[in-house]
Subunit: 168 residues, 2 copies
DNA sequence: TTTTATTTTCAATTTATTTTGAAAGTTCAG
DNA sequence: CTGAACTTTCAAAATAAATTGAAAATAAAA
């Protein structure tokens, strides 16, 4: 496989993965393109490379910036804007999880809290089943939060360990 | 809030969450309905409750069964099939992760392996950036796998601990 | 075997999402 | 100011995804 085929395959694979996880295919593709670009790209270059319209490129880049995955870079004496992606995939993963939690999970947790306050006979089978499901879901969110924290700590410790080895 | 409002809100909230994670809104709603049903439901009941067609109900239920989230129940002397959901949300979460890994992540890992074999000058900036991104992604998948394993073990240990306390 | 209850399939339709592109907006140099 | 270089917006169009419903298939009962 030549570089260009590999590049296209990477972009298309990332796009498919994104779209199966509820991220627009184009957004994932722009992200993929920036991930493998050694240098920042302009909107023009992104449009041309992925064959998308200016409007689409603009909106997609804005979304990626809002998600904290892409940075804008201005060059002295140039009006055009350039964009580069965060290349550390572990940081990217943490950032995506953080954003998805905030945007998609937290509003649900709010609703679940309300639901638990529902009036009515707490010993009714249906009433109880709903409260049980809600409580159970909240518990799993806690477990997931804890697992993430542990994974982050483990990574930080590994980093400290590696640095320590270097300087010992 | 009355039970029926709470029920509807739960179903609609779960549907919205599912659809933002790339699961069809209806599939998530059927799942939600079964999660809070104390007793198994027939296709008829699901259709009526969620106001969906027979075809849609049938396909959605089949998908949920394929995902390992819903079980079919046959009753002696009755032709109709009934469906019930796995109620333990931690099991549900593990099952969803397992399925998504198999269906969506593993094929990507296969492609990434191929991409690393790409021919060409390994010192070329663009070539190197692609290989770096791929390697980096593979590393994060490993971290995620490990974090999940640790979370599962932690949960199992907590269970053993609780049982031990009971019988000590 | 025939009838009846039930499930499954899938082409056609509907609905939701994404994309385009041209006009409006912005910003800065001259 | 004015115009050139660029970015942003958003209604309309295109595309993709979900849904329907009726016909076909299946399977138990008569």
């Amino acid at each position: 496989m030549k570089y260009n085929e590999a590049k296209d395959k990477f972009i298309q694979t990332w796009g498919t993965l994104g779209s199966s996880w509820g991220i627009s295919r184009t957004m994932a593709q722009v992200h993929a393109l920036l991930l493998i670009s050694p240098d920042p790209l302009s909107a023009e270059e992104i449009m041309e490379d992925l064959k998308i319209s200016r409007g689409n490129a603009n909106m997609t880049i804005r979304d990626l910036i809002d998600w904290g995955l892409v940075y804008k870079e201005l060059r002295a004496g140039e009006r055009k804007e350039y964009f580069k992606a965060e290349k550390d995939i572990w940081k990217v993963a943490k950032q995506i999880i953080k954003e998805r939690r905030k945007r998609e999970i937290e509003p649900v947790l709010g609703v679940l809290e309300e639901l638990k306050q529902m009036e009515g006979n707490k010993t009714d089978k249906k009433h109880k089943a709903l409260v049980d499901a809600v409580t159970n879901i909240e518990g799993v969110v806690e477990k997931a939060d804890f697992a993430l924290e542990r994974a982050i700590k483990l990574d930080e410790n590994a980093l400290v360990g590696a640095l320590f080895k270097l300087f010992k």
